[in-house]
Subunit: 251 residues, 2 copies
DNA sequence: ATCATCGAATGAACCCGATTCATACTCCGC
DNA sequence: GCGGAGTATGAATCGGGTTCATTCGATGAT
């Protein structure tokens, strides 16, 4: 019965078209002017059809988030499984996040909006779990690298679980995204190149963990060199601007 | 003319009652079930009256945020102006944020929601500026402490502006609030006592800045002792649970 | 070729809640 | 008591998410 498979494939295609269209509308006109009817119209469908794929507007937004979270995790996984010293892998994780943020500047805003909205509602336990599970791999990847570092004797052995250590770099990263995307703080203070700041501070943080320092995090040339190396080795596809210095300021 | 002043005073009082009522409703039933009509009713006014104070629902939410941001800054200012070594002041800043977060658990959720919503809309420029300006002092306070530390020779002198250094601890703090409040990540991973984690990581981060370490950040007893000292000295009023260990886990 | 079946599509109708506005009230100085 | 500025009112309006009774069209059995 090829009919059934064709139906399922068409369903998935339609769903993806809805998702893409919604995402496009968001990044063009902002989240608040996203209207279910417009999304449907943009794909030449009636409103009701959209509701056969997504139970509600919240559901649609969550689906977009989950869709993007997969991509985010994918590149982080590449970093975590890199065949390199744990310190390099740790930095590569941050680089992955930075590149993702540059690639999908709307994602964090949307994710933030969605998660706050969902948590406030405290209903729809299932969806909430879905969002949490989307984050699951991130914590696992980060703490795995920390565990490796402990095993290899690269950092002092702590009485803490790896995730309790990993939460620091993670929070640092999240917070920087926050400041960049949600509050406009960095513009307010005229802080250029926020992602370089993030990378620098990740180095600082790792030094505080008594990690074996590779170089002074305030040495700009060394930092750039390391970033280029990581980008070229792991994330070539995420750096489409050409060769050389892949990590370019958004300003 | 006492009439004019009385009118203004009554206006301010009414406005404050609206703000308090709205905040109460939010923390009781969640942001999403906040209704303008209910807020008005709860204060024994009609809907229209509420709109004489706040141009829109967004305006009301923004006002709540600005109101709370003032309190947050107040306690941070106390920390920044403490007559103590810069390292202690830096930690005290984090403690202030932690105590504030424990005192007003809803604030960060609301702030996040509001800022994302407002940034998306890009309307109501005035209130938006108000929110940004509410953050202004935070950056100034933090970078002032860093500058003092540089001047005193407590940290290596960098080629960076103080705020470019301060942004690290700040982002760390923001990110941890994020993970705690918005995403429920820490519960998901069964990470207890997130604020202790934040404080611990602040120590780690400062160590990475080549700050003079006061003690091993993984030494729980020393950490507790320092926290108690800071709480008792600076934030006695924010620690109402009695004497002794003021910093108690939310779990 | 005809017909029964069923999943998909439709969009007008419904509902909820933010916002507006024409009207009414209250207080004050004169 | 009067005029008017400032306030209060809540029914009406409006926008947009969600529902559902109906229609459509492909499929496959007779």
């Amino acid at each position: 019965m090829g009919t059934r498979e064709r139906r399922l494939r068409e369903l998935a295609e339609r769903e993806q078209r809805f998702l893409d269209s919604a995402r496009e509308q968001i990044s063009e006109h902002g989240l608040l002017s996203l209207q279910m009817a417009k999304v449907a119209r943009a794909c030449d469908y009636a409103t009701g059809t959209l509701y056969q794929h997504f139970a509600s507007k919240e559901d649609l937004l969550l689906s977009i988030c989950a869709d993007q979270a997969e991509k985010r995790v994918e590149s982080m996984a590449r970093a975590a499984h890199w065949d390199a010293p744990s310190r390099d892998r740790m930095i590569a994780l941050v680089v992955a996040d930075v590149l993702f943020a540059k690639r999908h500047p709307d994602h964090f805003r949307l994710a933030q909006y969605v998660t706050t909205e969902v948590i406030w509602r405290a209903a729809s336990q299932k969806r909430r779990d879905a969002v949490l599970e989307a984050h699951g791999p991130i914590g696992e990847l980060v703490s795995q690298v920390v565990q490796d570092a402990i095993d290899a004797g690269d950092v002092a052995s702590f009485k803490l679980r790896p995730l309790e250590i990993a939460i620091g770099p993670w929070a640092l990263s999240e917070g920087m995204h926050n400041l960049v995307h949600a509050e406009g703080i960095l513009d307010f203070y005229d802080l250029r190149d926020p992602y370089r700041l993030l990378l620098r501070h990740s180095h600082i943080h790792l030094n505080g963990l008594h990690w074996q320092p590779l170089f002074d995090p305030f040495d700009d040339e060394a930092l750039t060199a390391q970033l280029n190396h990581i980008c070229a080795t792991l994330f070539d596809d995420l750096c489409p601007e050409g060769t050389g210095y892949r990590y370019c300021s958004p300003h």
